[in-house]
Every structure is written in structure tokens, then in C-alpha cells.
């Protein structure tokens, strides 16, 4: 019988297909293929992954069909990619007719990133050099190099656009890139970290994930930038409030003035007695801990020390506590009390600065304190 095996025929046909396109009036975009494309798989890899998903059996299609479909989608995505670089263009371009909710999906997915990848890049300068080293990052994280590059370019693009923009950072990102609230916040964190270049790569910080840092960035943006104090000030959200950082050194009085330090300690101890498990350790360590926290504050006026902010928190505060086996609720109780008790210190005049400083420190430490 002249019945050739369908697969070989398939292959022969595929080889000789010079041109194969499909264009719909409404652009058809398969979410699954889009994800494979975003993840940086080649057409061949994507096809075999789709085959494994059982789509062939489900639809009675053959491999050639899948290959044609995948190639077609990839081409569409490549054509649409330049529009995704400026998402607002996607809404008023004429080339692709894409329903609005679909546009939103495309943008959101395009700007989504791998937590593992972003963790590697957090705080690094988004420079050509960093981009060159992406293959290392790719090997380390298991994210394809292509996807790494896309994500890197996204970071850089967002960074470049909002860097010089006035007004609230996250709002700017949301408006300009039409991202969801959550994703815009994450990008806010990435931009913020990239701008200040916080050190996040040290071994001691490895246990922290992107979400921890993103939370901290949110706190810093909300409380320590210029826009945080006065929303009327049309200033950038990406830089910390220099004046505030200068003022922070005045907090030193808490540790330099011995009376105040003792008073502070007794206030905290009185309040916490019987309320925390590690009371004894706390009592013993209070001065060290307080010194650590105030010293961090005092150092923040130097840009270099700002970069070490997280490592300082870990080394000076989190690690000592952890070695004494503090539990999270004890840390919380201590920090709350430590912050609030300063109010009762009559001689302490820097209440506003203290509040502004400690709110952030407290929530950052709590977020970073993994038991």
C-alpha cells in the first residue's frame, strides 16, 4: 500500500514549506505559546513542550500543525514586541487588532519576571556590563538567557523612563507601562534598588528573597523619599530624602547620652517584662541592639553606607537576635516597644525623625527576620 507513515510525510512537507503564515483580523495569541516565547524557548523546544502537554491528542493535530502554529505565534510576538516596549502604543497602534483585556494580558506577562532572576539583579547597576554577565545569571537561575535579556531590558527600560520623572514612582510606572498595581510596585522596588544600588548579593543576604526586598523598598519609598513627606512636592521618588538622612545623625543622642540610654532601656524592659520569652537576653543585649540601630541611622548620610543598609540590618541586629533564638513575635514586641518608648524620653527632641526612621526599620526587620 502506498501508505507512508504520516510523520515522515509530515517532515518532508515541513522541510519544503517555503512560507507559512496565518494572519487574523483579530490577532490570535495563545497564552501558552506566549509564555513559552517569554520564557525564551526556541520554536523546537516549545513544540516539544507542547507535544508533552498532550495537546496533539486533545485536538487530533499532528506535529507539523503544532510547528506551524508555534512558528506563527512566535513571529506575531516578535512583531508585537516593539509595541510592548512602549505599552501605551499598543492601545493606539493600528497593525494588530487586539481586544483590550488581551492587551493587558500581553503587557502584564511581558513585564512579569522570574523572582530568582530579579533576586540576582537586585541592586545591581543596570549597565551593559551587567547585561554581559547575564549568561552567568542564566546558568545560576535556570532562566534561559533570552528570557534573562528580556527581563533585564524591561528593568532598564522602566528605569530609564521613570528615573527622571516627577511624581510618585509606582504611579508613574503604572501609567507609563500600563501595569497592574502589584507589578508596578515590584518595578518600583527594582528601580529603587537599581538607583540606590543597595547591596543584596552578599552571602549573608542570600536567605532573603525578592519579595522581602520589594517590601522593604516599598517601605523606604513610602517613608524615606522626598515625595513621602510632602506629596505636593513634585519630586522624584527614586532618591532618599537627603535632608532626612542628614537629620538622622541627631538620633545618636539615644546612645551617646548615657542617661537617656538607661532610661530608654528601663522603659522597654518594664513594658516587656513577662511578655517575651527572651527577656533576659534582651535585657542583656539592649544597649548593643540600640547602638546598632542608631548607628545604622547615623551612617545613612553616606551614600556608601546607604548601600550597606540591608547588610547592616542583618549583621547588626538580625543575626545577634537569631543567635539568641528570638522568635518573630518577640522581635516585633521589642521593636514596637523600643520605638514607642522613645516618646517618653523627655530629653529626646527628634521624635518625628525617630518615628520616620523606626517605622521603616521595624517593618523591614520584621520582614527580613526569618526564624
Amino acid at each position: 500500500m502506498a501508505y507512508s507513515a504520516p510523520d515522515s510525510a509530515d517532515k518532508a512537507l515541513r522541510m519544503a514549506m517555503e512560507l507559512d503564515v496565518f494572519v487574523g483580523n483579530t490577532t490570535i495569541m495563545d497564552e501558552e505559546v506566549y509564555q513559552l516565547w517569554l520564557d525564551g524557548y526556541t520554536v523546537t523546544d516549545a513544540v516539544s513542550m507542547r507535544v508533552r502537554s498532550g495537546i496533539l491528542e486533545q485536538w487530533g493535530a499532528c506535529q507539523a500543525v503544532l510547528e506551524s502554529d508555534t512558528t506563527d505565534h512566535y513571529r506575531t510576538f516578535q512583531m508585537a514586541e516593539r509595541l510592548l516596549h512602549c505599552p501605551s502604543k499598543l492601545a493606539n497602534q493600528l497593525l494588530f487588532q487586539i481586544p483590550p483585556q488581551r492587551q493587558a494580558m500581553l503587557i502584564e506577562r511581558y513585564y512579569a519576571f522570574d523572582p530568582a532572576f530579579v533576586r540576582e539583579l537586585l541592586g545591581k547597576k543596570l549597565s551593559k556590563g551587567t547585561k554581559k554577565d547575564l549568561d552567568d545569571v542564566s546558568t545560576k537561575t535556570g532562566v534561559t538567557l533570552k528570557s534573562c535579556r528580556r527581563q533585564f531590558d524591561n528593568f532598564k527600560r522602566v528605569f530609564k523612563v521613570v528615573e527622571e520623572m516627577k511624581g510618585p514612582l509606582v504611579e508613574n510606572i503604572k501609567q507609563h507601562f500600563l501595569l497592574s498595581d502589584r507589578l508596578a510596585r515590584d518595578y518600583g522596588a527594582i528601580v529603587f534598588f537599581a538607583n540606590i544600588r543597595f547591596e543584596t548579593g552578599k552571602k549573608k543576604l542570600q536567605y532573603l528573597n525578592f519579595e522581602d526586598f520589594a517590601f522593604c523598598a516599598g517601605q523606604l519609598i513610602q517613608n524615606w523619599t522626598v515625595g513621602a513627606v510632602d506629596s505636593m512636592v513634585e519630586d522624584m521618588d527614586v532618591d532618599l530624602d537627603k535632608e532626612f538622612l542628614q537629620d538622622l545623625k541627631e538620633l545618636k543622642i539615644l546612645i551617646t547620652d548615657k542617661d537617656m540610654l538607661d532610661q530608654h532601656k528601663s522603659l522597654v524592659c518594664t513594658a516587656l517584662r513577662g511578655k517575651i520569652q527572651v527577656f533576659a537576653e534582651m535585657e542583656a543585649n539592649f544597649k548593643n541592639l540600640s547602638r546598632a540601630l542608631v548607628n545604622i541611622a547615623a551612617k545613612l548620610m553616606h551614600t556608601k553606607d546607604v548601600r550597606d543598609f540591608f547588610i547592616d540590618l542583618v549583621e547588626k541586629f538580625i543575626e545577634p537576635c537569631r543567635s539568641d533564638r528570638w522568635v518573630l513575635c518577640d522581635v516585633k514586641a521589642f521593636l514596637t516597644q523600643y520605638m514607642n518608648s522613645a516618646r517618653a524620653l523627655d530629653a529626646f527632641k527628634q521624635q518625628a525623625i525617630w518615628e520616620r526612621y523606626m517605622t521603616v526599620i521595624r517593618s523591614c526587620i520584621l520582614k527580613m527576620y526569618h526564624e
Binding site: 519544503a16 514549506m17 517555503e18 496565518f22 506575531t76 497593525l95
Partner: protein, 1154 residues
């Protein structure tokens, strides 16, 4: 100076960076029309320039307005060197010339460059102030409406269907001019685009003139094509059906108070009081008569009359070589009968002198030509009612025997002149009486340089000849008209195959003669709107038409019920043009029907169908030796009949395999390449209840044979039987067997066994001895006598089954699916296959081609899987052989979702709803605009009212406040050319003048806005998002109602690249180009104020590549009708005037079952 074109350049956006240093662009715009050019200021250093230019005014002839495109060029200013062109926009201003179409063009257009594609967008405003031209010898035909839709457009009523119009213009192809050697590819492409645009305009104008001469006001089923003849030139040709259309909405207009009624009266005037302006000129003494009919070249007249009894005497006068096998596809499968030739092939070989010498190809050694001729002569009488429907249709009221006589004379005179062809594929109820079958003609020509572009005589003569052929074929089938008519060409180097095909039909003479215009209009009002509105409604008529009282409702003494009447044979049973197998109609039992029916038209909506339909394709490749000139043409014409025969056989086999008995929308395409011919036939198979149940397929092996062979045969037979059974289940074909059994088959003549010969050398005697009957039915025998046949049966069985949830057809609607939901996805898919194996056999080639098509379909099903349950409608395949070893297949179709579950229960509901809709739609049409304008009533000044007072809905546009200052009121010149023709003919100018004045003033007082102003305002409200424009090859949009036609879209683009690899290879290049074409079509529609294109078609997609040079070029030609539609759910929210519905219910009450 009858027209003033006004253009304003507003802004640009997303412009490309032209200055690398600053990453910006210093853009300015040149606006060119004819030979006049205006420029905007340079808007420095911006990618989003805001020119806000003044109004550029062009004062031009309306002839130029029709021919010339508006050309907008965006440039980058450069102080030191020449300005760089960014790109161009061509705007066809024709829609602005018709009062009922668009009133303003305003919107964002993609700036297109033939090398770089779309480069940003430009916002343009275009208006036309048209003055009236009293000169009736003028060359323009402004105001004639053009529709691509091959049915009477929705929201219009056909007052008169005048008939066939055709025209062609030729020119030198700029690509082949000497200057092309020294100019850039861009300049060459632009010259070509511009020329084709010009030629299309000219063609449309000329066709418009013909329509006006015929007394019509519109062309329906307008199909314009380009023949790129290379060295020999460029031909642009068009065919269409001239009609007098009347906007549907007058009945309810009367019921509405105030502002609308005057305009309604206006409109009624020329039509209802004297519905046919032609009647005045129909008397032979009227001097106008000559003018009216003089459009037909006299040569055709004389030639036709001399050749009316033979189709062989048509000899072209020219020195070209018309080598034409003309194939005549009989409806009732003549190829199947054992003792007749498959078809009549008459091949002409005029040997210089002009004497025709004809012979029949080897396989048809019988006396068919004789019988054919006989039929022709006898069918002369039948012709009486043929083509005169235009002139005769409406004169009933005038009555009087003398006039009738005169009219008949006119009519018969007319029919000698005209081709009684209709490019329509759908007809109003009762229009179509009988269908004979497919008639087609092909002719192979050698191209030669067109020496004088002003005298396109040879091309005219070629088509003339083919049309004559078609006409005589139709006559042979006892039919006086051809419907679903189309013409195509395939060109390879200097050889050109001209093809024409259509469906021979008998049209209702009563309808056309006896003043049944009223009944006609009544039908239209009561039924036609439903038909054209949405798919969800289309099917319902099957249901209650089968309840036999439907014919009484028709008000005609038509003996045949509409559900089966069209199937009844038009030819004489005792004197059949070909041997066919007749039975009594299974529906009415009164008349004879053939066993199989092939047609090129859409399934009439009243037809009774069992089950669902499906797409059936026959595919075929034939190798051909490379040859030059005459030898090549001869080789091709020798191959053609065999190809047609094979395709026909395949179609028939596949039809039987699906247990069906009729094909609709049959389209046979034969493309010629240097070393092969590719044939593709597509059609939609259905089971017509009126036709007999098709027999099975019986396989006959060769005798003598061994056991294993017999085993093999019986295996195959089993497979075939299984497939048939499976298909019947799939397509829900449950034929009324029981009835058949009871009545028996009342076949008068001795039953013939249908047999199919694979090889003609086979002696037929021994085979006919075999008992081939398949149960009670006649079986269809496939004889396996060689490897070819085995291959064929395989391909028959390996046609991939449709995935669950999918249906497909190439007609407008799918028989058996009624409840369309709103999901619509139009798409184009193109594949080019390279044949690597140089020594291919015919079989190998066939298999490759077959797989190519099958895989393409499979891919489509897979791509569209998210739409399930859905149906691919209007699947239109186009094959080409662009180069030696390339086969190109392009498909354009639309996937439409439907509601599977509600299929049964909701039918009745739909019927009711449909009726309600019919009843209410007229007032809705009026109320809609009224409602719209309530918010804008504050006495705004309007833009120049180009929309006349004659069509009450037309022509008013609320000017955005920014433009108010510049708008001038020309409303006193409001009436348009189209109406002037009527005016002159009616000699009632004074009366009309008066009423125009009243109307325009009234209109001013009561702003009648229209759908698109609302559309536009809503889009502007929602911000800068782009308005969605739907595109569909169908004439309707499911779940929606078309409220206005804005004009024809006919666009031609060239795209070229010299960096093919960088653009993603050929696929990347073509993908981008097709997407760009869609984008440009959508932008133009949106600028006209529309939200959809219906009857969209990609007529040409010529792709050429040279990978070695990293180059590729592609030409695409698309067309369609820009429309405004509104969702039905929106419409239903509108109140219905109770008294109207009551009145209309009573008039159409007869239709309602139960």
C-alpha cells in the same frame, strides 16, 4: 468645475526617527490631487507632529474625482539634502461622491511605504463639495453606488435588476517601462500603485456610466480584478450587476412625523410613481432609447445574432491564437453515464483566415456537439424572458397591450445585446425559478503587448467570446440566464487562461414582466430583510417553508414550492442536453429533478436541506513540459479538458462519500505555471431534500484477479462504506427513506447505471454487465484498473475528517446552522511549498498538493480551536504557481461561532424573533438616527450637505466644533448626480427642484444624524484607543444589523524588501505585509465612519522572492464594502411603534406557522 475637494492634515503620530542625530523627525506633508500639490509647514523635531493645517482646496472635475486618488506624502525636511519620504497614504474619495455613502473621511491612516511598510500614522480630514452637472454627455458617474456584496445589500430594496455590466481598461505596466531601469524600486512601486488606483477609478467611473445609461443607480456584486500581464501590460477589468436600489425605510417613514417625511416623499418620487425611468425610453420612438442602450458595442450585437445557433463560429478577428478548449460542465454528472462523453470539449484552432475548425477531444467521440447545437436552437424560445428584467420589470402599471408589445420588443432586442448574466449569488425569494447547472468556459490565449491602451479591443474580444460561450451553454441547458457568474485569469509568462463560470438558471418571467414589482417589493419587505440580516435568522425559512403553504404566500401561480422549485430541471426531459438521471422531486413529487446538482451560487435560503453541509475540494496537479509560445498554449489547452474532467470526478466521488447530492458555491480554479497546471475545485456539499438519495460508491476491481487482490478490494469497499455511514452521521443526513419506499421511485425512463471510467481505453461492454446496484439505489462505480485509481481512492479516504465542533463551507452560510453567536474571526493564511524533487510524477505531485491543502485546513482548525463550536464560512482557496517549483495556496475565510445547544429548541423562537425583526426594522432604522441627534440638536451648523434630500438618512454629518468655522453650507446644491439622470429623463426638473429646497431647509432644522457619528463620538469619548473594525467575507455580521453602506473599499498595495532575512525571511515579510494590509483596510473603514467590512475578499496575492539577492516583492489587492452595523441587542432596546407592527403582522401573517 463641478467639485471641490477639501483636505486638512491634522496630526501625525508614531513617526519613524529620520534624524539619527536627534532621534527625531522634521516632518511635513504634501497633499496631491491630480496635478495640484499643497504642502504643510514643517513641524520640527517631533515624532508626533501637530500640523493642524488649513483646508487645502482642490477644484476639480467630477471625472477626476472619480479617477484620481488623493495622495498624501509625509516627508522629513532636510536643509542640506533632498527631503526623505517617510511614506504615503492613498485615499479613494469615491465613497464621498455618493449621497448614501460616507460624508466625510476623518481618521488615522497608516503611513505606508512600499519598502518599509507602515511608518507611523497620520490624521486626515477629507470632504467633497459636489456641484451638479447638468450635462448628460458628461463622462463622470458620481453617485452610482458600488457593492462587492453578491446579494441585494442589506437595507436596500432592488427595484430593478438591470443586469450585467462589464468594462476593462489596459495600460502599460510601469514595472516594465524602460524608465524602471533607472528609478528606485520605491518609485517604481509607487508608480504602479498610483496607476492601478487611477485605473480602478476610471474603470469604476466607466461602469458607473453604463449603469446610468441602463437607468440604474448601483452595481451589486462588483468584482474588479487585475491581470498583471508582465511585458504585455496591465489589465484592470470588472464585472457586476447593475441595479436600481431603493433604500429600505420608506414605509415606516410615513408613520413618523415631521422631518423625515419630506425627504421620504422625495425619494419615493422617482421610484414608486414611476418605478422605472427606463420605461420612458423603452418605446422605440423615444430618442433617448438609442442613448440608453448604446453602451453595448455594436460588434457584439452582430456577432451574437449571427452565432445564436452555434457556439463555434465565434472567431476572433485578431491575430492572436485563441486555443480554447471550452468545457461545459453538466449539472447532472454527465461524466458518469456509460454511453456518453464526459463533456463537450470544443477546441478551436482558427488557422489564420478566421474559419473555425473544431473538433472534440478523444474521449467524447459521440454525437454530443450535434445534440448541443440542437438544444441551442430550440432553447431560443425559452430565452424570451431572459435579460429584459431591467426594462420590463416595472411597467405593469402602465398596462396597455400596445405598450406591452413594445416592451417585449425592447426586451427581446435587449437580450440579444446583453449578456443575461448576474454576478449575484443570492436572490430574493421567487426570483430564481430553476437551476440548470454549472456552465463554464476556458480559453487559452497568448499575450502580446497592448499597443494602444485606449483601444483594449483584443482583451474585450476575448472576454466577449467566452461570455458568448457561457451564454450558449446556458441555452443548451434550457436556461436563459446565468447567475453566480464570475471571471478569472491565470497568467504565466505569455500564456493566459481566461475562465468564466456561472450557473445556468431560469429566472421568474412573471416576476419580471407582469408588474409584480409590488409583490416583489412586498417580498423584499417581508422576507428579504431577514435573509440578509444575520446568519442566525437565515436558516429558519427552511422550517416553515417546508410546510407547504409557503407558495401561496408568494402570491404567484408558481406550481413549484420554493423549497424545491429551483431544483426542478429547466430543460426538456425528452430532449436533454446531456444524459442525466431524472427522478420526480422528492419534495413535491410533481416535477423532475436531476440526481445531482452543481451550482456556483449560494444555497437559496428557501431550499429544503437535510442535515448540514460541508466543504468539498478536488485537487489536482498535472505536469507539463516547458514550452514557449504557441506550443505551450497548445499543450495547456490540451491538458485543460482532462483536468476539468478529473476535478469533476473527484468532486463527484467526494460528494457521494459524504452522502450528499448537491454542490453550491462551486469554484474551479486552474492555475498555470511553467511546468505544471494546478487545479483546485471548492464547493459546499449539501443534501437537498428534493433530490434523490445518492447511491454508495462501489469499487470494481480488474478482472481476472487473485484472492489477495479481491481481499484488498473488499477491504477498501468496506472502508468506503464505513466512511459514508460515518459522514452521514456527522452531517446529520437522515434522508426520508421511508417515504421513498412507499411511493417507490417514479422514474419514467429506464434506469441507467452510473459508472465512472478511470480510463477511456477500457472497453465498456464487460463492465456494464456487472451488477453494480447498491441496494435499491444506483451505485456509483469506481473502477480500479491502474495505480492512478488506487491513489485516487486513497486520497478520497484520507481526506482528514473535521475535528469535532468544526464545520466548514465555502458559501455564505452553512446549511443546518442557524444560531450564530457573535464570534467572528476573519483570517488569511498563505503557504508556499517548494518542490525539491525535480523528477516528480503526476501522482507524487498530486499527493503533495493534496497534503498541502489538507494540512493547511488542519492548521486552521487547530488555530481556531478556541472558537469551538464554530464554522469556517466562505473558505476561499486561491492557488498559484509563482515559480517553477513553487506552489502557493492562499486561504481567506471567516470562523464564526454558533450555539450548539440551542440549535433545536430555539428554532421556533428564532422564527418568531425574525418576524418581529422584519416588522420592526424599518422604524428602527429611522428611530435610530432620530434618537442619536437628540443630543446634538442645538442647531449646529452642518458640514456641506452632500447627502441629498433624496435619501433621508444620508448625508448629514455633525461637524466637530473645531471645523465649524470653515464649513460652508452648500445644501442648496444638495442633490447629486445620480438623481440628475432621473431628473433629466423624467423631465420633471422643476417639481424636483422645488422639493429639494424644502427638504434641505427642513433637514437643517432637524438634524438627522447617523450611526457613525455616534460611533465616532463614543470612540472619542473612550480616549485614544483604536475603534474595532470587523472584517468578514460574508455579506452580513451575525447578531448585528447593517444600517449603512459607506462605500466600496478597493485597495492595492505593493511591498518590497531588499533585506529579506532581516525581516524574518519570506514568512516574516508576508506576515507583516498581510497584517499591514488589514490595518490599512481597517483604518480606511474607520475613517469613513464604519465599524466593519463585509464581503471582504483578497483578490490577488502575488508573491515573488529572490532569496539569493535577499529580496522579495508582494502585491495584494483586496476589496469589500465598508458598513456601519449595530448589534441586535442594542436595536432591540429601542421602542417599537405598535401600530406599524400590527399593520405589518397582518400583511405577513401568512408566514407565521402555528
Amino acid at each position: 468645475m463641478p467639485g471641490k475637494l477639501k483636505v486638512r492634515i491634522v496630526a501625525g503620530r508614531h513617526l519613524p526617527v529620520m534624524d539619527r542625530a536627534s532621534d527625531l523627525t522634521d516632518a511635513f506633508v504634501e497633499v496631491k490631487f491630480g496635478n495640484t500639490t499643497f504642502k504643510t509647514d514643517v513641524y520640527p523635531k517631533s515624532l508626533n507632529p501637530q500640523w493642524n493645517s488649513e483646508w487645502f482646496k482642490f477644484e476639480v472635475d467630477d471625472e477626476d474625482l472619480q479617477d484620481e486618488p488623493l495622495q498624501i506624502t509625509v516627508l522629513d525636511h532636510d536643509t542640506y539634502s533632498a527631503n526623505d519620504a517617510i511614506g504615503k497614504v492613498y485615499i479613494d474619495i469615491d465613497p464621498l461622491l455618493s449621497s448614501e455613502a460616507a460624508t466625510v473621511i476623518s481618521g488615522w491612516f497608516p503611513i505606508y511605504d512600499t519598502i518599509h511598510g507602515i511608518r507611523g500614522e497620520i490624521n486626515v480630514l477629507v470632504k467633497v463639495d459636489l456641484f451638479n452637472d447638468l450635462n448628460r454627455f458628461r463622462q463622470s458617474s458620481c453617485g452610482v453606488k458600488f457593492f462587492c456584496t453578491t446579494s441585494i445589500p442589506r437595507c436596500y430594496r432592488a427595484v430593478i435588476v438591470h443586469g450585467f455590466v462589464e468594462e476593462l481598461v489596459v495600460n502599460e505596466d510601469p514595472e516594465y517601462q524602460w524608465i524602471d531601469r533607472i528609478r528606485t524600486p520605491r518609485a517604481s512601486n509607487e508608480a504602479r500603485q498610483r496607476l492601478i488606483s487611477l485605473m480602478s477609478g476610471e474603470l469604476q467611473r466607466k461602469i458607473g456610466l453604463k449603469v446610468l445609461e441602463m437607468g440604474g443607480n448601483a452595481v451589486v456584486g462588483y468584482l474588479q480584478c487585475f491581470d498583471l500581464e508582465g511585458e504585455s501590460g496591465l489589465v484592470v477589468r470588472a464585472i457586476g450587476t447593475a441595479c436600481t436600489l431603493d433604500k429600505l425605510s420608506n414605509p415606516s417613514a410615513a408613520l413618523l412625523p415631521a422631518c423625515n417625511s419630506p425627504s421620504k416623499d422625495m425619494k419615493e418620487a422617482p421610484f414608486s410613481e414611476d418605478p422605472n425611468p427606463n420605461t420612458h425610453s423603452s418605446g422605440p420612438s423615444t430618442p433617448l432609447k438609442n442613448q440608453t442602450y448604446s453602451f453595448s458595442p455594436s460588434k457584439s450585437y452582430s456577432r451574437q445574432s449571427s452565432s445564436s445557433d452555434t457556439d463555434l463560429s465565434l472567431t476572433p478577428k485578431t491575430a492572436f491564437f485563441p486555443l480554447g478548449p471550452r468545457i461545459f460542465l453538466c449539472p447532472s454528472s454527465p461524466t458518469l453515464s456509460s454511453d456518453s462523453p464526459p463533456h463537450t470539449n470544443t477546441i478551436q484552432l482558427p488557422l489564420g483566415s478566421g474559419t473555425a475548425h473544431s473538433y472534440t477531444p478523444p474521449q467524447s467521440g459521440h454525437a454530443n456537439p450535434v445534440s448541443l447545437r440542437k438544444t441551442v436552437s430550440f432553447s431560443e424560445e425559452l430565452l424570451l424572458a431572459a435579460s429584459g428584467m431591467g426594462s420590463g420589470g416595472s411597467v405593469g402599471k402602465e398596462g396597455g397591450p400596445l405598450k406591452t408589445l413594445l416592451r417585449q420588443q425592447t426586451q427581446s432586442a435587449l437580450e440579444h445585446r446583453e449578456f443575461p448574466f448576474f454576478t449575484l449569488t443570492c436572490f430574493p425569494m421567487g426570483f430564481l425559478v430553476h437551476v440548470g447547472g454549472v456552465v463554464s468556459a476556458r480559453s487559452v490565449k497568448l499575450l502580446d503587448r497592448i499597443h494602444n491602451p485606449d483601444e483594449p479591443e483584443t482583451r474585450d474580444a476575448w472576454w466577449e467570446e467566452i461570455r458568448q460561450e457561457i451564454k450558449s451553454h446556458a441555452k443548451a441547458l434550457g436556461c436563459h440566464a446565468v447567475v453566480g457568474y464570475s471571471e478569472t485569469t491565470s497568467i504565466c509568462e505569455e500564456v493566459c487562461i481566461l475562465s468564466a463560470s456561472g450557473t445556468a438558471a431560469v429566472l421568474n418571467p412573471k416576476f419580471l414582466q407582469d408588474g409584480c414589482l409590488d409583490s416583489c417589493s412586498e417580498h423584499r419587505l417581508s422576507r428579504q430583510p431577514t435573509f440578509f440580516s444575520t446568519g442566525s435568522e437565515k436558516g429558519e425559512f427552511d422550517i416553515f417553508l417546508q410546510s407547504k403553504d409557503s407558495s401561496s404566500m408568494l402570491g404567484l401561480e408558481e406550481p413549484s414550492p420554493p423549497s424545491c422549485g429551483f431544483c426542478h430541471i429547466p430543460y426538456d426531459e425528452l430532449n436533454m442536453p446531456f444524459p442525466a438521471h431524472l427522478t420526480y422531486c422528492f419534495n413535491c413529487r410533481r416535477q423532475k429533478v436531476p440526481d445531482v446538482l452543481f451550482t456556483t451560487m449560494d444555497l437559496p435560503l428557501e431550499a429544503a436541506v437535510t442535515g448540514k453541509g460541508c466543504l468539498i475540494q478536488a485537487r489536482l496537479c498535472r505536469l507539463k513540459k516547458k514550452a514557449q509560445g504557441e506550443a505551450n498554449a497548445t499543450a495547456i489547452s490540451n491538458l485543460l479538458p482532462f483536468m476539468e474532467y478529473e476535478l469533476h470526478t473527484q468532486l463527484m466521488n467526494k460528494l457521494k462519500l459524504r452522502g450528499m447530492n448537491a454542490l453550491f458555491g462551486l469554484r474551479i480554479q486552474i492555475s498555470v505555471g511553467e511546468n505544471m497546471l494546478v487545479g483546485l475545485a471548492s464547493a459546499t456539499g449539501v443534501y437537498l431534500t428534493a433530490l434523490p438519495t445518492p447511491g454508495g460508491i462501489q469499487i470494481a476491481g480488474k478482472t481476472p484477479s487473485d484472492i489477495s487482490y479481491e481481499q484488498h478490494i473488499s477491504n477498501m469497499q468496506k472502508k468506503i462504506n464505513e466512511t459514508i455511514a460515518k459522514n452521514k452521521e456527522l452531517y446529520e443526513i437522515i434522508p426520508p427513506e421511508s417515504i421513498d419506499e412507499m411511493i417507490g421511485s417514479p422514474i419514467p425512463e429506464p434506469r441507467q447505471r452510473s459508472r465512472l471510467f478511470r480510463s477511456h481505453s477500457e472497453s465498456s461492454d464487460e463492465v456494464s454487465e456487472l451488477d453494480l446496484s447498491h441496494g435499491k439505489k444506483d451505485a456509483f462505480v469506481l473502477e480500479i484498473d491502474d495505480a492512478d485509481a488506487v491513489e485516487d481512492i486513497h486520497s478520497l479516504l484520507t481526506d482528514a475528517p473535521l475535528p469535532t465542533g468544526f464545520y466548514s463551507c465555502n458559501t455564505e452560510i452553512m446549511p443546518g446552522i442557524y444560531n450564530w453567536t457573535s464570534g467572528v474571526q476573519m483570517f488569511t493564511s498563505v503557504r508556499v511549498f517548494r518542490l525539491n524533487n525535480t523528477n516528480l510524477t503526476n501522482q507524487g505531485l498530486n499527493k503533495i498538493f493534496n497534503d498541502l491543502c489538507e494540512n493547511l485546513l488542519k492548521s486552521l482548525y487547530f488555530k481556531l480551536r478556541s472558537m469551538i463550536p464554530c464554522c469556517l464560512c466562505h473558505v476561499n482557496f486561491a492557488v498559484a504557481v509563482p515559480e517553477d517549483e513553487l506552489i502557493q495556496v492562499a486561504v481567506t475565510a471567516v470562523a464564526m461561532t454558533f450555539d450548539k445547544d440551542q440549535a433545536q429548541e430555539n428554532l421556533k423562537l428564532y422564527v418568531d424573533k425574525t418576524l418581529m425583526k422584519v416588522i420592526t426594522e424599518n422604524e428602527e432604522q429611522l428611530q435610530f438616527p432620530l434618537e442619536l441627534c437628540s443630543d446634538s440638536q442645538s442647531g449646529n451648523p452642518f458640514s456641506p450637505i452632500k447627502g441629498t434630500g433624496l435619501q433621508e438618512n444620508a448625508g448629514m454629518h455633525i461637524v466637530p466644533s473645531a471645523q465649524r468655522a470653515t464649513s460652508v453650507d452648500y445644501s442648496s446644491f444638495a442633490d447629486r448626480c445620480s438623481t440628475w439622470i432621473e431628473l433629466i429623463k423624467l423631465k420633471a426638473q422643476t417639481i424636483r427642484r422645488g422639493s429639494i429646497k424644502t427638504t434641505s431647509s427642513l433637514e437643517k432644522a432637524s438634524p438627522v444624524s447617523e450611526g457613525h457619528s455616534r460611533l465616532r463620538s463614543t470612540t472619542s469619548n473612550t480616549g485614544c484607543t483604536v475603534a474595532v473594525v470587523k472584517m468578514t467575507p460574508l455579506s452580513f455580521i451575525p447578531g448585528a444589523k447593517i444600517i449603512k453602506y459607506l462605500g466600496i473599499i478597493n485597495m492595492f498595495f505593493i511591498r518590497e524588501t531588499t533585506s529579506l532575512r532581516e525581516e524574518g525571511g519570506v514568512s516574516g515579510f508576508l506576515h507583516a505585509f498581510i497584517a499591514e494590509v488589514f490595518a490599512m483596510v481597517r483604518a480606511h473603514v474607520a475613517a469613513l465612519g464604519g465599524n466593519a467590512v463585509v464581503s471582504y475578499i483578497m483578490k490577488e496575492c502575488v508573491f515573488m522572492e529572490n532569496p539569493n539577492k535577499n529580496q522579495a516583492q508582494c502585491l495584494i489587492n483586496v476589496s469589500g464594502d465598508a458598513v456601519i452595523f449595530v448589534r441586535e441587542c442594542d436595536l432591540e432596546a429601542l421602542p417599537v411603534q405598535p401600530q406599524t407592527s400590527a399593520a405589518q403582522t397582518s400583511s405577513s401573517g401568512g408566514e407565521v406557522p402555528a
